[in-house]
């Protein structure tokens, strides 16, 4: 199977960013890898069509959000990904960093699916409100209100309160 023209370059250029976003959406690297691969697999056969009509990154992120939501809706016979892995590789540079990272994941896990997606798209991927609305398929006003509510909820999270006022380098 030969990749369509420009697809490989897109993957090479954007996969790091997509993976990190997926990590924030899913909470672990295995799920993040799977999420990005699923999104790109669905993008591959429509690549030329997407290039003509859409921003490919917006398209990929839209599939990532939708797929992530699908995973989270499944139960029992078709399960959902967890924010907390029972086992994880030890790649932490230190306990304090691991604690803060876990606290961040726990806080994100406390948000609704849409709130989490808005936080990741707006404040990690640095998309505009219009781009975020395009990814989520909703109105710009909805993005604004969801972002405001999500930020307020994160600020009230006790585990994040100390971190929001200090340096957070690993």
């Amino acid at each position: 199977v030969r990749a369509p023209e420009g697809f490989g370059e897109f993957v090479e250029a954007r996969s790091r960013s997509l993976l990190r976003s997926a990590w924030l959406l899913t909470g672990d690297w295995a799920a993040a890898q799977d999420l990005v691969q699923v999104a790109l697999t669905k993008t591959w056969p429509r690549w030329e069509h997407i290039l003509r009509r859409d921003d490919p990154e917006v398209y990929v992120r839209r599939i990532m959000i939708n797929t992530s939501n699908t995973w989270r809706r499944r139960r029992w016979h078709a399960e959902i990904p967890t924010e907390t892995l029972p086992e994880q590789a030890t790649v932490d540079p230190g306990f304090a960093y691991a604690e803060r990272r876990d606290a961040l994941q726990a806080a994100l896990a406390g948000l609704s699916r849409r709130q989490r997606a808005v936080i990741v798209l707006r404040y990690f991927d640095d998309l505009s409100e219009e781009q975020t609305a395009a990814v989520l398929g909703c109105a710009v006003g909805t993005v604004k209100s969801t972002a405001a509510r999500s930020l307020a909820k994160l600020r009230l999270d006790p585990a994040l309160q100390g971190m929001l006022t200090e340096e957070t380098t690993p």
């Binding site: 990904p81 029972p86 086992e87 790649v91 961040l104 929001l164």
Partner: protein, 463 residues
């Protein structure tokens, strides 16, 4: 971006790690190829079915059937011909021996779910086990199963007598499990069976936002090259595993006790590369410097892991607690290759350890700090007076460093500082309590037997 969103954005960028493994275009190409194959297979199946229906329908409407033709058809669709490479059938749960022994780790139940093939034929496990906890009456509990690793590894083939294991987890239970609870275990194509834990269930554990009976999850099945054994407690000087090694794990110094209950375990080699398994054992130790404790054989707990690197969650022992007036808790973690019994790596340093049992006379508990200074022996007093701007904190005898332990109720109002202390903002009275459970401290420990060191402290705020 609005200024109020910048701290969150900064946090997201600082704490989101780099991907450990880059994305490979080949993996996506493989998925695309598999997807196309599935689509082609679906189209072919649809076409074959359509043709079959078209051929069978006229017969069922009254056409005469030639006996010879009928026989030929049966032999073609029956058992696979000799020399066929058809995969082994899926293992059926009712023909397997299932083993489960829950242990509590960091408030979560953890076990290796072992599956042993009791049939005389080879079979395969193609999916992770699906778990459905049941109550004492056999009714399903309101649990949610989550998926730790979406990507599926290769199916596990079980020869007669061979075993495989999956790590299973059950966390945040409020209404279950209870004594008599069981677990329905199944997997795709294999039916389901009910298995009981050989261990007792611990007290309830709740977390906000989870279903009443909590969350269950499971890992993929992995072949066990050696008998899986059962997690158990071993004594300090017991010789185990290969009958040659007596492992004396080093002790992590008490002063270096991690603020997180997670103890990273870095291993130089991966026995899983050769299909092995790893036993991780851990224990909590205390250096007895004051002589107030009764020496007791060292307890270690062993867990089985099928993936390396792995980490274990170390909690304070339910039977040991350590006042900071003595040497505090130490943690030693050692990984053991289950195939050879030899240690693979360790996480601590030190050479000696002495176990100890606390007594009620040790008065484990918490005390208030005002502006960083312990206010000793104030439990049971009518009240103490604090002032606006004072920073009230907590010291826990077991050395807990969790900052946000204090809560206050009453007419006085407090604000929480970034270091976890609280500061009065309005005059009045309040009762201040410490949430020791947030430290992972079990107040049922003997040294916490004195309620005077556990209860709230009354303060009067004067402005």
């Amino acid at each position: 971006m609005t200024p109020d969103a910048e701290p969150i954005s900064r946090l997201l960028h600082d704490l989101t790690p780099e991907p450990p493994v880059p994305l490979q275009l080949e993996n996506i190409a493989l998925r695309v190829r598999n997807r196309r194959s599935r689509q082609a297979a679906s189209a072919l199946t649809f076409a074959v079915l359509t043709i079959a229906v078209a051929m069978v329908l006229p017969r069922s409407l009254g056409q005469h059937t030639n006996p010879a033709t009928s026989h030929d058809t049966a032999s073609t669709n029956g058992t696979a011909p000799s020399g066929s490479t058809a995969p082994a059938p899926v293992c059926q749960t009712n023909a397997m021996r299932l083993g489960l022994a829950w242990q509590t780790v960091d408030g979560r139940l953890v076990s290796a779910l072992t599956v042993t093939n009791q049939t005389g034929e080879i079979c395969t496990l193609r999916s992770r086990p699906l778990l459905d906890p049941l109550n004492q009456n056999g009714q399903p509990l309101d649990t949610q199963q989550v998926q730790p690793v979406p990507a599926a590894p290769a199916p596990v083939a079980l020869r007669p007598g061979a075993s495989a294991a999956s790590s299973v987890y059950w966390s945040d239970w409020c209404s279950g499990p209870q004594p008599g609870s069981t677990l329905r275990v199944g997997w795709l194509g294999g039916g389901s069976s009910i298995v009981s834990s050989s261990n007792q269930y611990p007290p309830r554990s709740c977390a906000k936002g989870t279903p009443p009976a909590g969350t269950v999850s499971s890992g993929w099945f992995l072949s066990l090259l050696t008998p899986p054994g059962t997690a158990r407690t071993v004594t300090e000087n017991e010789t185990f595993l290969n009958g040659q090694e007596t492992i004396q794990p080093p002790v992590r110094p008490a002063t270096d006790f991690p603020t997180t209950p997670r103890q990273a375990l870095a291993l130089a080699t991966s026995p899983l590369a050769n299909g092995g398994t790893v036993t991780v054992e851990y224990g909590l130790y205390s250096n007895n410097t004051a002589g107030t404790y009764d020496p007791k054989p060292l307890n270690k707990t062993r867990l089985f892991f099928q993936r390396v690197p792995a980490y274990i969650v170390v909690t304070r022992s339910p039977t040991l607690a350590f006042p900071t007036s003595q040497s505090g808790p130490g943690v030693a973690v050692t990984a053991v290759d289950a195939a050879t019994g030899k240690p693979l790596g360790t996480s601590g340093e030190g050479t000696s350890q002495t176990s100890a049992t606390p007594t009620p006379a040790d008065n484990c508990g918490w005390t208030l700090t005002v502006n960083g200074t312990n206010v000793t022996s104030i439990h049971g007093q009518t009240s103490i007076t604090v002032h606006r701007g004072d920073r009230l904190g907590v010291t826990v005898t077991a050395g807990c460093k969790t900052p946000t332990l204090l809560s206050a109720t009453g007419t006085a109002r407090f604000s929480r500082n970034s270091d976890g202390t609280i500061t009065p903002t309005t005059a009045g009275n309040a009762e201040i309590s410490a949430d020791l459970a947030a430290c992972g401290i079990h107040t049922t420990d003997p040294c916490f037997a004195n309620p005077a060191t556990l209860g709230p402290i009354r303060v009067t705020v004067e402005l």
